[in-house]
Structures are given as structure tokens and as C-alpha cells.
Subunit: 469 residues, 2 copies
């Protein structure tokens, strides 16, 4: 239902569907482009790609196998535009940049707003970065080098320098004339910032407010003095939370001395929120960056590290089981049932953990409600534990015709789920207080507790109750 | 660093910090408000709350215990504004609405844009909804009833009706005069939609383009004809992906016959992306809605259902172990080591699953790269499997001085991790093809496979190799 690809004539000439009902490129279309790339028919590549929107060309590059991306990028010629390069995923961009000359990359970067140009250049290898910077014209280079001096993922990296700032004494009419007369100003902006002589923001005017005001009204009467100012070194996740909290479309970025240096817009925030939420999912599950376009070696490294840690915690659990070898030999049913206790505990812990990590990430769980939230999770865990304990106990009792065994497994499940609830909320909160990312290592700790304690409680109760040897 | 709370005098009179460095309300502040609520001192409540931004008042209500929210809302008087009600989380809003009269709720809803008013009314119980609708003025009521006629989470629910649409023949000057003369128009908008006589959108003008054009230029020369039109029944997740793909700040919503009926803005999309990503994390871990403000009974229901399913899959695994009772009796080391195989397999499966579910949700994994992605995950899994198998095999070999046992556990881990990689990508892709949400049930299936197969392969190999049995 979007009007991209826009040209109906091209669609008429070419009966093949380009986009499916989900607005994704069809498999047929991608295959056809890849065939043309393979056979070296660059004219056909350009004919096929030409009607696409930049965002769809970016998708096409992402869906092309890694070893053919550079070839496709070169074959597209000037359809490989600056906007396309800004749109593609980091891993895909590396493949493309490797295939282009530094001068071409510099040319593309020079056409973009600073935030997009920085996004392209910041991920390059240092030497490639130097080569591209050397090709940029001096003014662009200075701006980008300045942006690169801010920490990664900070407001300074994601802001754009192109903005409209005017003095307080201007009237609406003067402002409109100024915009009409200065055609070198940025063409896309959503708010005008009003600044004092030191270039410190004193207020913000949404364009709609300006357009609805008479020419003679001073901008100082149109603007709103209450504004959300973003410090240039603020972390992008924090920036995204401010946008969300105050429903912002754009916000001024200020340096340490409070001077206006840039602007961040909501379309960038949309990407950041997606990225940060993805990071939490992937970190919770130990999948690292976890992009399907990530090189295999990177995926291997990120995931194997996690599984080695997991092997360590599993060995702790095994060590605990080994202490109960005699009991298991006299009653093999213990070996049959013990994974149930550990598995249920692990899953209950993961549930609480997911809720807690997201509540921390979205600033819903703060100092003022920590105690209440922990107490809430313990109550939920006790209710759930009692339910599962009764079901599992009845099942074990009937299957093994052993009601002492039933009591032991029920008690172990109740204890382990309660422990899972407590550790699932307390561990991420503690890590957060220690300024550690709760998504990264919480689940290792929680799983270790629920596995080890699950086996210990179950097998320990079995011995203690005289059930087994 | 935000300038809210804005009034420096109030901050001077009141040395207590209201916001901490993360821009959250301090615990001291929240406690002081709650003390005032408890002692019935409504003047003190209003004095404390008055300098806060609406978004912070919403946070305050979220951090108030459920049973005191209604009292606080009433105590705040007119500080309990429409914007505050729109900002709070659904569960918190229910508590507040229960404490207010239908006429008060209707009054608040009437002050909001349609999207926010609908968000408030759609979650109410049917009878409360009717009571509030009856109190609304007829025009507002018609608009809200119309919005409620669209499916939940569709574009029709999240759009606002307040927009500016003008005919193609208008000039920039006429448009600006029209906006200045019609003070009943909406005050906040980012784009002007150009429509034909049937009210179908033919183009979009960003306000900055209009402000930079001379008065005599027709809007048809300023506007861009390529525009992303959102069908009114499109799912909000799909809408969010369009905003992200095309970096939109606002977009026109059209009905079945293509007529302009509303507008969606990026500040709403920011919330939706957060919501949808949270849903994936919480569903993957079986935590349901998983909000820390959710009533305990709801959390219990959502989570216990998942754990009962998990109990079922754990019993399948136990049944498999039970078949090898004789082998375990002759060699208790099998019982000690078997949880390692299952645990590592389960975690490897979760890693692949998390990557796949997010790639599906963000339209990165499509028909044209499914086969390649599955093949990629299998290769990563084989590499990881080989590494972990060697480490675990060496460890078991040295500890138990039994190199046949070492070979058995290594082989079992390699097979189980490979299986985890395959099922971790294939199961969510299959569910997605069947139009099921891959986040909801994938992990139950994957865990069942890695648990059951982990035990089966390990114990089976132990018997088959003559190690035990």
C-alpha cells in the first residue's frame, strides 16, 4: 500500500512482483537480481534496481550472500546512493565499503547528514577510516572528526549538526524570510531552536506553532521555554528513554558549557530503541550481537564463550549430583525425576528475569519500588510453586506409587521455584546497582542457582527423609 | 539536564531533589508524597506534585502501590491531567479510572487527541466504557466509537484524526494564511497532506519545505508525491516497521477506498517498538504480559500455564531417562553427567532462537534468505559443538579416568548442539510460515527437543558403546 516503487510504467513492463504483501522483496525478484549479478549483466541489474526505494535497495543488499554484495554494489553504479549506504546493517555495509574506493565512500558520506555519515565511518577499520577522511572536503572532515571524538553510542555520535537556531528578538516574519533567503540551510527540520548570544538554547518552537502565528509576533512568544536538553555525552539508551518519556519528535543537544551543538530526531530513536531491546534479548540468551548477517567467526566467539560459562555451571550441578551417588544407586527414580526439578526452576527463573531486565531497561523499576517488586515476585513465585508442586507431586505419587517420593519432589519444586523468583529479580537489580548490564550475566547466575539448588534440595530431601540411601 | 521541573523558585524553596541523575523520581520524593497521601494532606500532595512534568507525574503514579493510586489521583485534583492519564501504563490507569467519576474520565478524554483518548477508553471494562462514552460530547463520542470499530493494535486505533489536509491548487501563501485564520485546527503537526477532491492523499509537504518556499509557489510543487500510506487496518507492528524502514516522522492513514482518515506520528511508534520488542522477550521466556505493575493473579495465570507445558516436556525427558534405569544403576556417573548434555543443548538452542525470532520480527529473515540462514546456523552450531565437546570430553575423561565415557559425552554434546542449532532456527521459521507468533511457543518445542534428545543420545550411546548396561 505504499507508493514505492513509485513508477507505474516500470511495474507494467515487468509483471514480476517486487514486493510481497509484507512489503518485503519477493524471492523471485532477489533471485533475478542475483542471476544478473552472476552473469555480469550490469545493465539488467540497474534496470531491476532502478524503481526501488532506497530502503528496499538496502534490503536487497542485506539479502544478498556476503561474497556477492560488493559486486552488486559496484554493478548498481550511482543507484548505490548515500542513503542506501546509510540504511544497511553494519555487517552488510562493511562488505560494500570493502568493494568501493575510499574516494567513492567519501563522496557518499559527504552527501549525508552528519549523524548518518558518522554511522558509516565509525565502524570502519582505522586505516580505511583515515583513507576516507582524507578524501572528504575539509569542512565535512572537521565535523565528522569532532563527532568521532565523542564516545560510541553517545548523543554526540547520533546527533546531526544541521539545524536552525535563531536569536530571541526575531519575529515570526523575520524567521520565515530568513529561511526563504538562506537556501544553504538544512531542508529537513521539525523545530527551530531559539538561542541566546552565547548560543545556549532558551526555547524551542515547533514549526506548526510558527506557521500558525502572525508575522509580527516575536519567536520568544511562540517558543516553549520548557525543553528537554540532551547532554552531548549522554548514552543513546538514556536519550531514547527521554524521547519516549516526553514524547519528543526532536531535541536539542548541548555541550558541557550548555551551548547548542546538534539535534537528534525521533526517526533515529526508533532505530535505537529497536537495537537496545534486541541487545537485551540477545544478551539474556547469550547470543552476543546476534545478527543474521554477522560473520560466522563472530557468532562462534560470542556464543561459545557463553556456553563455556554454562558448562562450568553445569559441572557445579554435576558435582552436587555426584555427592548423592549412593542414593541414586539405591533408587534410580531419583535420577529419572531430578531433571524436572532443575528444568522447572530454570524456566521460572527466566520468566522473572525477563520481566525484571525489561523493567530496569525502561526505568520502570527504580529505587522507590525495588522492595515492593521483589516482594511481588516472591508472592507470584510461591503461588506458581505451590501449583506446580501439587501437579508434579500427584503425578510422581501415582506413577511410582510412592507418596514419600511425591512429597519430596513437591517440596523440592516449591523451594526451587521460590528461589528462582527471588534470584530472578534480586540478581539483575543487584547487577544494575553495581552499574553492570543486568542482561549480560544475570541468566548465568540464575541458572546456576536453580540447577544446583534444584538437585541439592531434591536429592538432599530424599536422603534426609530416609527415602533413599 | 532537562529543564523540567522548570520553576527554579520552587526548587529553591524545597531543597529535596526531585529527580536523580537517571532522570527518575528519587525515593525520598516518592516517600514524601506517599506520606502526604496517607495523612490525607491534599494541599501538601498538590504542592509537591505541582512542579513536575506530566511524564514525571505518570511515573509517580506508577511507583505508588496499587491500593493508594486512586487516593493519590483524587488528591492531585486538576494536576491529574489528561496528559498524565495518557502517559501511565495500562494497569496503573485502571486503578486511577476506578477512582474517578465517568464524567471526570470523559472530561479528561475529551481534551486529548483521538489516539490518546482511544488508548484510555479501549482498555476499560465494557460498562465503564459505555458510561464514559455517554458523558462525552457527541462529536468526540462519534470519533472514538469509530476508532474502537477498528481491530485492536491496528493503525485505526493508534492514529489521530487531528490533521491538516489542503487541496492541490493552494499556494504556500494561501496555506499559511489558512493556518493562521483557522485557530480551531490542531496545533501540533509535522506535515501537511495534499488531497484530491475525493480526499485521497496525492502528496505530503514537510513543514520545513513549506517554510522555505516563497508565498506564490503552489503546494503541489513543494510536496513529494512518493509517500508511505498506511491502511487503517494494518497491524501496529507492521506500521512500526514501515516507519523504521522509511525513517518517517509522520504518515497518512487511509481507509479501504484510499481516503485520508488520520495520521500516525513517530512519538507513538517509539512506544510501539518498545512494546513489541518487550513482547518478544517476555513471550520467549513465557512471562506473558510481564509488566511489574500487572496484578499478581494475571502474572500467575500467564506464567503457570507456561510452566505446566514445561512440566509436560520435562516428563517426556524423564520418561526417556527411565528407559535407561538399568544403565544408570550399573554406572551412576551417567546420572551425574546427563544434565550437562541437556543444559548445554538447551542454552545453545535458546541462543539460535533469540537471533531467529528477532530477525523474523524485524523482517531481516525473509523467504529469500531462509535456506542460507538455516545453513549458517548449522555451521555455527557445528563449530560450537566441536569446541564444547572437546572441553567436556577432556574434563570427563580426566575426572572419571574413563575415555570411553569421555567419547560418549563428547559425541552426545556435539549432536545435541547441532540439533539445537537446527531446531532453534527451523522451528520459529516454520511457525512464522504457519502465521503463528514464533516468540510464543518456539522455546517450548526447542527445549523439549534438546532435553529429550540430549538424554536419549547420551544414554543411548552409553548403552550402544557397551559403556554401561
Amino acid at each position: 500500500m505504499t507508493s514505492e516503487p513509485a513508477d507505474p510504467e516500470i511495474l507494467d513492463n515487468d509483471v514480476m512482483e517486487t514486493l510481497d504483501e509484507d512489503n518485503n522483496l519477493t524471492r523471485d525478484f532477489v533471485d533475478r537480481v542475483l542471476d544478473a549479478v552472476e552473469s555480469g549483466d550490469h545493465d539488467e541489474v540497474r534496470r531491476l534496481v532502478e524503481p526501488l526505494h532506497e530502503a528496499d535497495i538496502a534490503d536487497l543488499l542485506e539479502q544478498t550472500p556476503s561474497d556477492q554484495r560488493g559486486v552488486l554494489a559496484v554493478a548498481m553504479g550511482d543507484l548505490m546512493s548515500a542513503d542506501v549506504l546509510a540504511e544497511v546493517n553494519d555487517y552488510v555495509r562493511e562488505d560494500i565499503i570493502d568493494a568501493l574506493q575510499p574516494a567513492q565512500v567519501a563522496d557518499l558520506a559527504g552527501q549525508l547528514d552528519t549523524d548518518d555519515a558518522v554511522a558509516i565511518i565509525e565502524d570502519m577499520e582505522i586505516e580505511d577510516q583515515q583513507a576516507v577522511l582524507a578524501e572528504l572536503d575539509p569542512e565535512d572532515r572537521a565535523v565528522i572528526e569532532d563527532a568521532l571524538s565523542y564516545p560510541e553510542e553517545s548523543a554526540g555520535r547520533i546527533m546531526q549538526r544541521e539545524l536552525v537556531a535563531v536569536p530571541e528578538h526575531m519575529t515570526v516574519g523575520q524567521l520565515i524570510d530568513y529561511l526563504r533567503d538562506h537556501q544553504d540551510l538544512t531542508t529537513e527540520f521539525w523545530e527551530v531552536f531559539v538561542v541566546d548570544p552565547q548560543h545556549k538554547p532558551v526555547g524551542t518552537c515547533k514549526l506548526s506553532w510558527i506557521m500558525r502565528s502572525q508575522r509580527k509576533v516575536p519567536v520568544s512568544e511562540v517558543m516553549k521555554r520548557e525543553q528537554t536538553l540532551i547532554p552531548v555525552d549522554m548514552d543513546q539508551e538514556e536519550v531514547a528513554l527521554r524521547f519516549q518519556k516526553y514524547a519528543l519528535i526532536s531535541a536539542a543537544v548541548v555541550d558541557q558549557s550548555g551551548r547548542l551543538v546538534g539535534v537528534i530526531t525521533a526517526d533515529d530513536i526508533v532505530h535505537i530503541i529497536q537495537e537496545e531491546a534486541d541487545e537485551d534479548i540477545l544478551r539474556l540468551s547469550g547470543a552476543g550481537e546476534g545478527d543474521i548477517n554477522e560473520p560466522i567467526a563472530d557468532s562462534y566467539k560470542a556464543r561459545v564463550r557463553w556456553l563455556i560459562a554454562n558448562l562450568g555451571t553445569a559441572m557445579v550441578a554435576s558435582f552436587i549430583i555426584a555427592q548423592f551417588g549412593a542414593a541414586i544407586e539405591t533408587m534410580v527414580a531419583l535420577a529419572v525425576l531430578m531433571p524436572i526439578v532443575a528444568s522447572i526452576g530454570g524456566n521460572a527463573g527466566t520468566q522473572t528475569l525477563a520481566v525484571t531486565v525489561r523493567a530496569l531497561a525502561t526505568n520502570q523499576l527504580t529505587q522507590s519500588n525495588t522492595v515492593r517488586s521483589i516482594w511481588r515476585e516472591i508472592r507470584v513465585a510461591l503461588l506458581i510453586g505451590a501449583t506446580i508442586a501439587v501437579i508434579a507431586g500427584l503425578g510422581a505419587g501415582f506413577i511410582f506409587s510412592n507418596w514419600l517420593l511425591a512429597g519430596v519432589i513437591a517440596a523440592a519444586i516449591l523451594c526451587n521455584i521460590a528461589l528462582a523468583g527471588l534470584s530472578g529479580v534480586a540478581i539483575p537489580v543487584l547487577l544494575d546497582r553495581l552499574d553492570q548490564d543486568p542482561a549480560v550475566s544475570s541468566s548465568i547466575f540464575v541458572t546456576m542457582i536453580t540447577d544446583s539448588m534444584g538437585f541439592l534440595i531434591f536429592l538432599g530431601l530424599a536422603v534426609f527423609s530416609g527415602l533413599a540411601g
